[in-house]
């Protein structure tokens, strides 16, 4: 299983990497939506975890682009965000986000959510 993690925070990327790699996932990283798209272009990925607030291309645009590409309509995309307000999450879902993970995340919960949306 390969998980693409997209976040502009090195701390979050490192923690995701640690948790996911520890659970046997292969982890790819990108620091913004554009990098994320580049990775998806070249790599096959089973699950995507993306932050919303990022420079260059934010998470919402990223999800929209992924879904619009025609190639990844069924790729589970989890929105990783501290946004507690419903509207951000809804924007992410409206763009095509499969589910969400609220930061700070508990490693077990992170893994369980990934399992929940992945085949």
């Amino acid at each position: 299983m390969r998980v693409l993690t997209v976040d502009d925070s090195r701390t979050i990327l490192a923690m995701l990497q640690h948790t996911l790699a520890g659970a046997g996932y292969e982890v790819l990283q990108a620091e913004n939506g554009q990098e994320g798209l580049d990775v998806l272009q070249n790599e096959s990925v089973d699950v995507v975890i993306t932050d919303i607030n990022m420079p260059i291309m934010d998470g919402i645009e990223f999800i929209k682009n992924v879904r619009a590409s025609g190639k990844h309509q069924s790729l589970p995309i989890l929105i990783l965000t501290t946004e507690t307000s419903q509207d951000k999450r809804d924007q992410g879902r409206a763009a095509g986000g499969t589910g969400w993970i609220v930061k700070p995340f508990d490693p077990d919960k992170l893994l369980s959510v990934i399992k929940k949306v992945s085949h």
Partner: protein
Amino acid sequence: MSELDEFKATYFDECSELLIELEEQFVAIEEGDQDTERLNAVFRAIHSIKGGAGAFGFQGLVGFAHSFETLLDFVRDGRVELTEDVIKLCIRSIDLVADFVTAAQENRELGADYGADEKRQFDELCNPDADGEAGEEDPEDFDIEFTPVMVEVDSSDADAEQSDEFEESPLEEDLNAALMDNVDDSDHEALAEEIANADVVFESDNPATADHSDEESDIDAADMGASDCWCVVFTPLPALYERANDPLLLFREMAIIGETKMRANLREIPPLQDFEPFQPYCSWTIYLKGDDVTEERIREVFEFVEGDCEIEITPPGGISEQQAAHLVGDISATSKVVVKPDEMTPATDEPAAGESEVSFADLAGELGVKGLGEAEEEQAPEASSSDDETPSAVADEIKQKQGDDSMDAEAMLSDLLDEEEPKAKAAPQTDASPAAPKAPPAAAAANKITQSKAPDKSPVQSIRVDLDKVDRVVNMVGELVITQSMLTQQMDETLREKYQELVRGIEVLAQTTRGLQDSVMAIRAQPVKSVFSRMPRLVRELATKTGKKIKLEMVGEQTEIDKTVIEQLSDPLTHMIRNSADHGVESVEKRIARGKPEQGTIRLSAEQAGGNILIIVEDDGAGINRERVLDIARERGVIQPEQNPSDEQIDNLIFAPGFSTATEVSDISGRGVGMDVVLSNIKKIGGSVHVRSHPGRGTRMTLRLPLTLAVLDVMLVSVAGCPYVVPLSSIVETIQAGKADFGKTPSGARLLSIRGEYVQVADLATRFAMHTTAEEKDRFVVLCEADGSSKIALVVDEIIGQQQVVIKSLEENYERIDGIAGGTILGDGQVALIVDVQGLKAGPNHRNAA
């Protein structure tokens, strides 16, 4: 370092970068550039700080950052106007965030009301009508707990244990009769209708009962025991599929919280040629039984698809047996979905492979069974029309499969989806299915890449390395340098003549070592920009507070210095700038009166000068008031009344301990510490400070800092048989004592007259209370430049030679000694003390000196 500590270290690194960025952005914002991207950037920075803080449980920081972030969010979408006051509040809040970060880093707690005032202002701005509760919503709880279990969809060998448990099927007749008695139960009418209309697939515990005849069919709800069974009617909407949610996965989740049996309503499934992969043709009724089943847990399963589907949850007892029984009449085909958590296998393994191998024809056949099988009279015409239009093989399959009742709704559906949207759906499964077209490239890519960022696009590549690792290299290189210099020392004339090759080798080694050392030091070097960038804001704040007009010019921000030096530079520099703004630059009126431009200038520059970095803070203010400085110095006993220091010495008195020229402790520079703190901080990092003032024209303060802290070029000398080292950078020349021209001041201090200039003399033997047996005429004078231009003559017994040493802190290993800047270990293992030239020069102020 534990993993958590490593993450924290990354986080604090990131915070300091973000804080610098915040400063820079707000400087631009304050100057009127309120670009949307800028506002987004500041929002993101605070957001990231908050995110990490949450992860480590820095609650104070989270709370504050959250309110701050909320304000920034309101600002960026225009709900709060970015007035000057709001900008000021934000700038102040960045400092508070920095305080919170520092506190977290130092494992300290700031008071609960720290930043409370600002927080209240945020809340008021964001929610002017409410009573300060804006932005306080609780983060949503996120509780999905389950152990990793996989699902196996059982299609043939019915699970005996389960069927035992559910062995309470009422007779169909009874149920029907009961239903008739209770038709007006409006609460459940809709559900009953839904169930009644459902076309079909459901569980049969026993393959033997898998018969189309109504009489022998088992019923889900009844079978489960309608009274203790939850009923979930789940109807996906198109959005569910568009967001890559998959009913199959939801069923898998359901199976984890309890035993499930389900039936799928396939009536909406169109003929194959009209099939749209993302259309939700199916709906399901799931019966769920288990001790731990609660509505909350069921809702959790559907958490991500809320709004993307219709869900109706009926608690046990909610479905009457009558309603359940009503189902029986409609059933003409049965199948089962038995999900047993303990038998679940990873979905990515064989099942996936198996699924993707199912042929289209198979699927069509299965679909025919499910969709058309039971309600023959209604569905038959459609079925036949679909037969006409589909390949005959498919039609055959359908016919063949008509009798196959032991089908699996989940498998069928997932197969169907897989095949219908091979690109999308199959992608995640390709790893496990070699037959799938995408698998080979995916596998190849998997081998090629382990963890990586997106393909690099920037020309300058960089990696992040733990500072500890770099320091380890620095240290090793330091030791290598010592070893090399030891080898060089061992080379006496006889050896040189005898082993010329060896000598050449050692010379090459010396060069290489030097190169290696420079390269390693370059790794630690960073532009001073990171410190300089904090200053513009400081100056603006100072200008506001003092009512002066001050502009800051910065030059040489790209000059690189050792990271440790940079870290130590912030406080002294801040203090020096404060001093310039507070005491240097005059008020607008005074400046006008003196014919100066009303705006004062503070110039901050950095440049490399040999093995040193010079950082100069220069202002065009009033200059140092020497009379007052002298008065105060005398009054406070900083110098003796009889001393008559030169102008330059007076200027430098401002760095003397306990000296402060401010008549009243001002809010800005007088914070209980004087410029002596600057001096001691700078000395700690091996630097020196020098002030030069021109009354009425301004003051220039020069910080001289070493390029690196690790290795020092020194002159090795000996005093009373003990080795000492004198930093080479401070040595001007060496003179034989016998030829030197010593004299004495009336007060008895020794002076050396050199080319008409009198220089203070420090005999190291006397100074360090050692007894030397060397004859005066055989001793040497090392003439050193202490700072800027003032000199001191050190008298030593012997000059041994030049070499490089690795500096070891005396304070860390022993304690501070006046006149000694540190220690080092020589090539032969001896410890040598590093002479603090400036400390010796400042002798009279160091009363503790031996």
